[in-house]
């Protein structure tokens, strides 16, 4: 009986977490940006469903001890996708906080935004590499 209650609590906690995550994604609006860049807006419904599916599946995998025992290269591919997502995520976060527009306005570099974004790109990649190759290895 009590385990049913436990399941219900789990379900409601999940609904709250899921809608919060979705709200966060839309607030950062990088998913709409991806769809816009790829010019693939016919399938908006599919993307929504795939986000829900991904979050659900990973949530389940996190709690259980499943291993798929796949090749190393597949792990690399998955990591690439995750990195892509994370890159968009962090850029969108910086963009929502309006860091770059304000900075470029103060420094009067409106027409050199290209260099700012490129240096951000390299900085983030370098930072990530430094973290994994130097800090974690230590």
């Amino acid at each position: 009986m009590y385990s049913f209650l436990s399941a219900f609590v789990g379900l409601s906690a999940g609904v709250v977490i899921g809608s919060a995550a979705a709200a966060f994604f839309t607030l950062l609006n990088f998913i709409s940006r991806t769809i816009q860049v790829a010019n693939a807006r016919k399938m908006v419904k599919i993307y929504q469903n795939i986000i829900a599916l991904g979050a659900s599946a990973y949530s389940f995998i996190y709690f259980s001890n499943i291993t798929f025992k796949l090749n190393n290269m597949i792990s690399a591919l998955v990591s690439l996708f995750m990195g892509y997502f994370l890159g968009m995520f962090s850029s969108a976060l910086a963009e929502v906080l309006d860091v770059i527009p304000i900075l470029s306005k103060k420094l009067k570099t409106k027409h050199r935004l290209k260099y700012i974004t490129t240096s951000l790109l390299f900085g983030k990649t370098l930072g990530s590499l430094c973290y994994w190759l130097i800090y974690v290895k230590r």
């Binding site: 436990s6 977490i17 994604f25 709409s32 769809i35 795939i50 829900a52 979050a55 990973y58």
Partner: protein
């Protein structure tokens, strides 16, 4: 580009309407670019070619033109693109959820809540974590689109992602027109 391509013409006299619709307002360009036509240009072009009429423009003052080649339907590329986006979103949202769980130590929290409710000290209680996982998916779905509704009309209304896309398009059009105008001035 004729007037009929960028708007609708209302006129009582059918011949004048036909004439106005066939007024050329923009010359074809070879390359793919963006360009714009202002209302005043349209009015002058129409008034130049037809005598004795009044023109009233209803709607936005500028028309944004998107000049592009004929789209060749490349289905394989399209599907591949969608697959890649789906993979990114799938693994990415998964990573975000795992990130969050690790950050807040979800495993310990769930075990604690399970203990409070049932009194059993189980390591990773499936009875609680599986509904949690389902709930995450349900929560995201209910945020993005209305799943649970009897009325068909309400199920069809656009979700936040569609609205965001639409807003983005609007903003982009505005910026493009502004930049084109700035370019013309200099």
């Amino acid at each position: 580009m004729y007037v009929e391509d960028i708007g609708e013409v209302y006129c009582k006299d059918q011949t004048i309407k036909k004439k106005v619709e066939k007024v050329r307002v923009y010359n074809k360009q070879k390359e793919e670019t963006y360009d714009y036509i202002t209302a005043s240009v349209i009015i002058t072009k129409v008034l130049d070619s037809i005598d004795n009429i009044d023109v009233t423009i209803i709607g936005g003052p500028d028309v944004l033109l998107e000049i592009k080649d004929k789209e060749s339907p490349n289905n394989i590329l399209e599907i591949l693109k969608i697959l890649v986006i789906c993979a990114i979103l799938f693994f990415g949202s998964g990573l975000a959820i795992v990130n969050f769980y690790e950050d807040v130590e979800m495993k310990a929290s769930i075990e604690k809540i399970h203990y409070i409710i049932t009194g059993e000290d189980v390591e990773n209680p499936m009875i609680s974590t599986i509904p949690l996982s389902i709930g995450v998916g349900l929560g995201i779905l209910t945020f993005f689109n209305r799943v649970i509704s009897l009325s068909k009309r309400r199920r069809q209304e656009p979700g936040p992602l569609e609205i965001e896309l639409n807003l983005y398009d609007k903003d982009m059009e505005e910026v493009i027109i502004k930049e084109l105008k700035n370019k013309d001035k200099t």
